[in-house]
Structure formats: structure tokens, C-alpha cells
């Protein structure tokens, strides 16, 4: 079945990503809800799609949504294997036909409109991938190290041990407050220093929102980094960072360059 006739009667097209390529590609039933994934072309660009209804995918069932999101990512990865670096879409981007035209026509128009921009992006991102870097610290370990290394804080801590209960408690609160202030300051210093060291060995970087983490750890930096695949420098820098007592790193990737396609 030619890709064109598959597309012909569809109300909507779920778009996974945009790639540079030619010809017709059939990826098989790897889409959301096992829909058939294929490409729609415009010039030297290809959109990876599946046919769907003209309504968004939504569900209250977390496992259903999880399956969809995983399928989305799997299709983008399959497309990456076929085409090299692609421009991934956000989840649930569905093109509908304008009145008087089908979804395919609308999608082709969109590709035409964005052609130059997508070409520039694809050129820029060729051979590269995104990597997530999160730097965390262990609050207790860091606090203990800070107290140990600071004469004033050490003094306060030692004092709490020698004083009677009531006074000791007040001193303890004072110490806790001083330690929190010291930690805030240290967090900033670490974040700036680590950011600079990471920035130096990647091509581009995005700073993401810090996320809450349990287990006594706190996130200092949440970064998405664009890098040539095969580069070892970032790994070396991250290993270095983890030599610092109390510091740990979460490193994920390679990702399709979600953070670097500019929305």
C-alpha cells in the first residue's frame, strides 16, 4: 500500500519528528496504540507520522499515557536510526486538514513554511545528540563538611556540646541557621563552577528547572547538553565533579535533541 493512499483519508496526522530524507519509508506498527508509522514528504524533508483522528491523545490512565510517551520516543529513535539526527516533535502534535484540504496537504504546507529553518536546524544538529546532566549533592555530607572546614561553625558546634540543655538547644538552632546560609552560598559556588566546567566541553547547553529529589539529596544543576556523539570530554568532567565529597551526577542520553529545536 503506497504511503500516499494510506494517508489519503486520514482526519489527522500524528507527527513524531521531521528529518532530512527522500523516498517513502514505512516503519511498521510501532506508533501509539500500534499505529502504522510512515513518512510524508515535502522536498528533501520527511515528517514521520501515523494516521489518527482529529483529536488529541489523552487519558486518565497513567499506564496508557506512559505507553504513548514511550511509543513516541521509540518512533523518534527508529527515525534517528534511519535518517540520522531528526527534529523531534513534542508529544501529541497532530495536524488536521484545513477546510477544503487534507491533513497531508496541511502538513506539507507546514514543512514548506518551515523549510529554511528546519534545514538550518538539521545542519546544525547533524551527528550530535542531547545529554542530560543533573548534579546533586547530599545535604548531610555537605553540611558536615562545611562545619568541619569553617572555624566559626566548628566553634558553634563544639559549644553546643558543652552547654546545658536549654542553651544548647538555642545554640543548635543558631548553628542550623548558619549552616543553611553557608550551604546556600556553597550551592551557588558549586553551580557556577560546575556549569562553567560542563559548558566548556559541550557545543550548546540549556538550563532546566531544578527538580525535587528525595533521600537527602538536592539538585544543584539540571542541564541539557548538545554534543558530538563519541566525544569523551564531558564524561571526564563529570567524573571529576564526582570526586568532590557529597557530589553525585545523573547522566542520561543520547537523546534526540528535544531541547535544541527551539520549540
Amino acid at each position: 500500500m503506497a504511503a500516499n493512499s494510506i494517508a489519503a483519508t486520514s482526519e489527522g496526522l500524528y507527527v513524531y519528528c521531521v528529518a532530512r530524507g527522500d523516498g517513502h519509508h514505512l516503519f511498521g506498527p510501532i506508533g501509539l496504540d500500534r499505529q502504522l508509522v510512515y513518512t510524508v514528504g515535502g522536498g528533501d524533508l520527511r515528517a514521520v507520522v501515523h494516521n489518527c483522528q482529529a483529536q488529541p491523545y489523552q487519558s486518565q490512565d497513567p499506564q496508557v499515557v506512559q505507553g504513548w510517551v514511550v511509543a513516541h520516543q521509540n518512533v523518534v529513535r527508529a527515525a534517528t536510526e534511519a535518517f540520522g539526527t531528526v527534529l523531534p516533535m513534542a508529544f501529541d502534535m497532530i495536524v488536521r486538514g484545513a477546510p477544503g484540504g487534507g491533513a497531508v496537504a496541511a502538513l506539507r504546507d507546514w514543512l514548506d513554511e518551515k523549510r529554511e529553518r528546519f534545514a538550518r536546524l538539521l545542519d546544525r544538529l547533524a551527528g550530535k545528540a542531547e545529554y542530560g546532566v543533573q548534579v546533586l549533592w547530599d545535604r548531610e555530607v555537605i553540611a558536615a563538611a562545611l562545619v568541619e572546614s569553617d572555624e566559626a561553625l566548628r566553634g558553634m558546634r563544639d559549644e553546643t556540646k558543652t552547654k546545658p540543655k536549654g542553651l544548647a538547644h538555642l545554640l543548635q538552632q543558631k548553628l542550623a541557621k548558619a549552616v543553611r546560609a553557608a550551604m546556600e552560598k556553597q550551592a551557588d559556588l558549586f553551580a557556577q563552577d560546575f556549569y562553567a566546567r560542563i559548558r566548556r566541553c559541550v557545543e550548546d547547553i540549556r538550563v532546566d528547572k531544578l527538580k525535587k529529589v528525595d533521600g537527602g539529596k538536592q539538585m544543584l544543576l539540571n542541564l541539557s547538553c548538545l554534543m558530538q556523539q563519541g566525544s569523551g570530554e564531558l564524561g571526564r568532567v563529570l567524573d571529576e565533579l564526582q570526586q568532590t565529597k557529597g557530589i553525585s551526577v545523573r547522566f542520561t542520553g543520547p537523546w534526540p535533541p528535544y531541547s535544541f529545536v527551539g520549540g
Binding site: S59, W110, Y131, D214, D239, S248
Partner: protein, 100 residues
């Protein structure tokens, strides 16, 4: 080809993926896209709980996060909650496998 991985390399989790596919990537122009009027495409009360690995096996969609997470005993996994910038509690709970 992979970069040399740092010693504490972690497999990606669903939260890492959600952060990307929900907030990033290319968007379609408003008139082209199917959406709920004004509401982000994911339902406002979406709650995505990470299923245990057994569920991921059932879906047959095990990929990057399977082996490392399965290797970590459940009691060492941590829970992560996050709040979306617009105040909607996404309530995503992810198991993050952490190694030393």
C-alpha cells in the same frame, strides 16, 4: 558511538522523557494542531505513575531504562515528585535508580 560514560551513568527514566516530550521538541502552529482549547494537550489532571518494570515488560516497550532499574532493589529506588510551572500538579512519580 557513545561518549565515554562517567562512572555514575544512570539509565533514563520516564521523568527524564516526560520533561522532554511534554515541554520541549517542535510544536505545531495553533491553527494546525488539534488541542483542547487553552489547556495543554495532556489533560489537566494527568497523573502519570511510573509502572513497575513488570508493566513495562507487558507493554513490550522496554528500552533504555529497563536493565539498570531492574538491577536496583526496590528499597533503594527513590521517588520524585514534581510540580509543573503552571501550578498543575503533574503528580509524576518516577523511580530513579541511583548507584553510589
Amino acid at each position: 558511538m557513545q561518549p565515554e560514560l562517567p562512572k555514575a551513568y544512570h539509565r533514563a527514566t520516564l521523568v527524564d522523557l516526560l520533561d522532554r516530550v511534554l515541554d520541549k521538541g517542535l510544536f505545531l502552529r495553533a491553527d494546525l494542531v488539534i488541542s483542547l482549547a487553552g489547556i495543554p494537550l495532556i489533560g489537566a489532571t494527568l497523573s502519570v505513575a511510573v509502572a513497575g518494570t513488570e508493566t513495562m515488560v507487558r507493554y513490550g516497550m522496554l528500552s533504555d531504562w529497563d536493565e539498570a532499574i531492574r538491577a536496583v532493589p526496590p528499597e533503594q529506588r527513590q521517588l520524585l515528585r514534581e510540580r509543573r510551572p503552571n501550578g498543575l500538579l503533574l503528580g509524576s512519580q518516577a523511580e530513579i535508580a541511583t548507584t553510589a
